[in-house]
């Protein structure tokens, strides 16, 4: 548990997150206009989205289905009856003067999410609810000195708001929560999880209390935090700020604050902006959303294997460590790649090559796993050559580098360059004899008790043979011969 050290003692963070995840739909939540990112100004807008009088919203079934799937992925209760409400506030990019959201009866109720933490530890965080709502339009304040420009392309795009319980106790846990939630929605395909494009956005609720105290302190909400790194920075900054106020005898004012990426601080929004009294009421344009239990069951049957289950399977099926399994399942593409490499081969070896060699190389090239110049099958070919002793692990690194550069299969490189490992006892013995004969003085020293010279002999033999001898056989034979 990461406590914050103040002047007068230790403090504990209490953190809850609200995540807005954009549904991967083609059309908007209540209209047939495109939900695609970007587009010419006001081109992805229907009369419904622009709030023209007399236009009626009709819900997109796909969006409802994704909310249900996400709820099931969070092991949450699915509410067969839910209600859409109007959340009333005025802003230039909200044409109706209200956002259609869900307030008292959301589509998804309580669930949970398991965080993977440092050192293979895990922690369960409660999900309070998930509801469907509309996104607002986009205001641009930097286009003119006197005017704000409004583009309604995003207005009406379907969002899933996922609200957590105040169960997190550090920035690291908040980061782990976001990573896991992102992994789950990506596995499900219900949201692309792209924080840069804003298809996943996060508001942070944080309060402080002295270690050991059960009651909650007054919280602040931090908006506009657009990456996992910034979430951690904003939490650390805000925790320090609150502790300084509390230790100075002050009180925390419950308020909405903005994360300022440039300055690395949070600052209070102008009080006028947050003087919100949303006056929620059921939207008279929309009847209650009633789902068929059998339909929900059908959706449940089509859920893919999710990160937690996949991780457990990787551990039991391939004998991976908790850590390696966590790294591999974090992205579905990595997990799929791993299975292509590992199927019918040595899973641990495959995991090692993937996490230490391939990921490292891709990182250097700035490429994603999908863009890997070495396919899963090709890397599997290399693993096979190591497993069946055709090449040593050391030679395999050279072959790997060659595969990256040329795209040739491992077996072809080994043949062309004559890298096949020497496993013939006679040949190995002959190589050793040559080295021992050339270093008679060192042999004498070794036999007189200078054991450390063993490595020298290994190195010399390897150098003479281009590293092609089987290391285990070399060790055994060398030991025998040195005994004299």
């Amino acid at each position: 548990m990461a406590y914050v050290q103040g002047q007068t003692g230790e403090w504990e963070m209490v953190i809850g997150l609200e995540v807005h995840a954009q549904v991967t739909s083609q059309a908007k939540l209540f209209s047939g206009a495109s939900a695609a990112f970007g587009g010419a100004p006001n081109a992805h807008v229907s009369l419904v989205d622009a709030g023209f009088p007399g236009m009626l919203p009709v819900i997109n079934k796909y969006c409802v289905e994704q909310a249900v799937r996400t709820g099931l992925g969070l092991k949450a209760q699915i509410n067969l009856t839910s209600v859409f409400d109007r959340k009333n506030y005025f802003y230039a990019d909200l044409p109706n003067g209200y956002q259609i959201s869900q307030f008292t009866q959301p589509i998804v109720g309580k669930g949970e999410i398991i965080l993977d933490l440092e050192g293979g530890k895990s922690r369960t965080v409660g999900i309070t609810r998930l509801h469907l709502e509309q996104d607002a339009g986009k205001s641009m304040h930097d286009q003119s000195p006197t005017e704000t420009f409004v583009d309604l392309n995003r207005a009406g795009v379907a969002l899933m708001e996922v609200v957590s319980e105040p169960d997190m106790r550090s920035g690291e846990e908040a980061a782990a929560y976001l990573k896991k939630l992102r992994a789950i929605v990506r596995y499900l395909g219900s949201c692309d999880g792209n924080m840069e494009e804003g298809s996943m956005r996060c508001d942070v609720n944080i309060s402080m209390r002295r270690v050991g105290v059960e009651t909650l302190g007054t919280r602040c909400e931090i908006k506009n935090v657009n990456s996992i790194r910034f979430v951690m920075q904003a939490i650390d900054y805000e925790a320090q700020r609150q502790v300084e106020i509390l230790e100075g005898g002050g009180e925390i004012k419950q308020e909405t604050r903005l994360w300022d990426t440039g300055k690395g601080i949070t600052r209070a929004m102008r009080s006028k902006e947050e003087a919100h009294d949303y006056r929620y009421f059921p939207d008279p344009d929309l009847l209650p959303l009633v789902l068929d239990a059998a339909w929900v069951e059908d959706i449940k049957k089509t859920l893919p294997e999710l990160p937690d289950e996949k991780k457990q399977r990787f551990i039991s099926q391939y004998g991976l460590t908790d850590y390696d399994a966590s790294v591999l399942v974090a992205e579905k593409a990595s997990a799929d790649f791993f299975e292509t490499v590992a199927k019918g081969r040595d899973g641990k070896l495959a995991a090692n090559w993937l996490t230490s060699e391939l990921f490292g190389a891709l990182n250097k090239m700035g490429k994603s796993i999908e863009e890997s110049p070495i396919s899963g099958a090709a890397l599997g070919g290399l693993i096979e050559l190591i497993s069946n002793d055709t090449i040593s692990g050391r030679i395999a690194k050279d072959v790997f580098a060659e595969m990256l550069a040329s795209g040739k299969p491992a077996a072809q490189i080994v043949e062309e360059k004559g890298l096949r490992q020497v496993t013939d006892m006679g040949a190995i013995g002959a190589e050793i004899d040559k080295i021992l004969a050339a270093n008679a003085d060192k042999v004498a020293e070794y036999r007189a008790g200078k054991d450390k010279l063993f490595g020298f002999f290994v190195g010399q033999v390897m150098k003479a043979t281009g590293g092609k001898l089987n290391p285990a056989m070399l060790n055994d034979t060398l030991k025998e011969k040195l005994k004299g």
Binding site: Q26, A33, V58, H141, P145, E147, D277, L289
Partner: protein, 96 residues
């Protein structure tokens, strides 16, 4: 429930309506009349009836196919805009 002048001022602010002080009393009176009229519903015995979100029967119908069927008409969208630049709505600067 009765609406006093303070409430009128508050909800006028929330609704972005400018109600001059000399009219506030009469607006309060009007709103109270409306509430009293709706308040007749209190005479109905609703014991044992679940709260309703909508008085109509049935449930929400939906768009079966997730396909784009609308849009690409910024000129229609902006036709009534009091102020615009290119294909954007423009409003007096909203300072963040």
């Amino acid at each position: 429930m009765t609406i006093d002048i303070n409430t009128v001022v508050k909800i006028a602010h929330l609704a972005h309506l400018k109600i001059p002080p000399q009219q506030q009393q009469s607006v309060a009176g009007d709103l109270n009349k409306i509430l009293a009229w709706v308040g007749q519903l209190d005479e109905v015995n609703v014991e044992g009836v679940e709260p309703l979100a909508n008085v109509n029967d049935g449930s929400l119908g939906w768009r079966e196919q997730d396909v784009v069927t609308d849009g690409d008409k910024p000129q229609d969208i902006l036709a009534n805009a009091p102020s615009k630049t290119a294909d954007f709505f423009t409003v007096p600067k909203v300072v963040e």
